[in-house]
């Protein structure tokens, strides 16, 4: 029996897809960033993306941008055996951490909108979302079940 669960923590702008049904994927301390969780319940293949900005700048096709990360992660989980039609997505993050300054930017909201729009465009069902607000979040995707937990400062946590 394998008691070692592999936990992968994603840094800013990173993607990770896996077919290891024991794995836990996580993003720690998300503010305006948005975590995309993709999961195929039949094959237990899934992936996560730690997305920082809504739209890529020309010529910079890296997954820190939502519009790059969504199709890239989709194709990675499909490569590992997930079926497009069965995939469910969950989105977490997109908070506005500093309410006074840079209000016009509201990057968290724009990240959240861009992520929802990209999922619509690629026809992936958005099963749950925990977006917006003014609090940081840690998010974990458990590949054994597809459940997603969100933890706030102070340790309170819930599932979406």
């Amino acid at each position: 029996m394998n008691l070692v669960t592999s936990t992968v923590t994603l840094g800013l702008g990173e993607l990770h897809a896996t077919s290891d049904s024991e794995a836990i994927l996580s993003c720690l301390g998300l503010g305006s960033c948005v975590a995309l969780c993709l999961y195929d319940p039949a094959t237990k293949v899934g992936g996560m993306g730690h997305m920082v900005l809504p739209a890529s700048v020309e010529g910079r096709s890296v997954p820190k941008f939502v519009d790059v990360a969504v199709p890239m992660l989709l194709s990675e989980v499909v490569k590992l055996g997930a079926q497009r039609g069965r995939l469910v997505a969950k989105l977490v993050g997109g908070a506005q951490m500093m309410s006074v300054v840079n209000d016009t930017l509201n990057i968290g909201q724009r990240n959240a909108d861009a992520a929802k729009e990209a999922l619509r465009q690629f026809q992936v069902r958005l099963a749950a979302a925990d977006l917006g607000g003014h609090q940081g979040r840690t998010v974990r995707l458990f590949l054994d079940s597809g459940r997603v937990s969100v933890t706030l400062v102070g340790g309170s946590s819930y599932e979406i």
């Binding site: 702008g13 301390g29 920082v52 951490m97 500093m98 300054v101 990057i107 840690t138």
Partner: protein, 188 residues
């Protein structure tokens, strides 16, 4: 130049809190934004951040970061109370920390503006307590738009009795970075 600006900022901080403040290390380095959160004990570490933006002839970000217990102790110093009196960050406490950010940020910018002949102004401070990673996202979003790494000036400062310390970051935006590079050569 950043060294001069930092000592100017810390001298003013010292006057404000009525204690000698020493700059423990001043480093200028190219880092990933993930690395910045590690300085505060990881992206989930509870942190108090005082954030200001730089505007005027060039742009950038400044953030003072403290462990919560230290931030509360700084509030005691600022309000002339006995250490340990402040237990949470209400409106008045946040405003005291904001003022501290204002003094440090403005004096840093004034010294820098003088030496590069630019007009640099700090925004009003914004004080937030949350996970370090979440606080840094606001800077990450701006920096990562055009770069993959941040060029940061990082200062650890401490009071002379070693009881209080914090980290002060200055992250120049593209335009401020260019101005620094064009002027006088050596940035430090």
């Amino acid at each position: 130049m950043i060294s001069l600006s930092t000592s100017n900022a810390m001298a003013n901080l010292s006057i404000m809190i009525g204690q000698e403040v020493s700059v423990e290390n001043l480093r200028l380095r190219q880092v990933s934004m993930d690395e910045v959160a590690q300085l505060m004990g990881g992206p989930e570490a509870l942190t108090v951040g005082v954030y200001l933006t730089v505007s005027g002839s060039a742009d950038g970000h400044m953030m003072l970061m403290y462990q919560p217990a230290i931030a509360l102790a700084f509030v005691d110093l600022l309000l002339g109370q006995e250490l340990g009196s402040t237990r949470d960050l209400g409106e008045m406490e946040q405003s005291a920390l904001g003022e501290m950010g204002n003094v440090v940020g403005s004096s840093f910018l004034n010294a820098m503006a003088d030496s590069v002949s630019l007009r640099l102004m700090p925004s009003p401070p914004s004080v937030t307590m949350d996970m370090a990673g979440a606080l840094l996202d606001i800077i990450a979003a701006d920096v990562l738009l055009t770069q993959d790494e941040a060029y940061i000036a990082e200062t650890t400062f401490r009071t002379s009795d070693q009881r209080m310390s914090g980290v002060f970051f200055v992250i120049p935006g593209d335009s401020l970075m260019q101005a620094l590079e064009q002027s006088a050569g050596a940035v430090l």
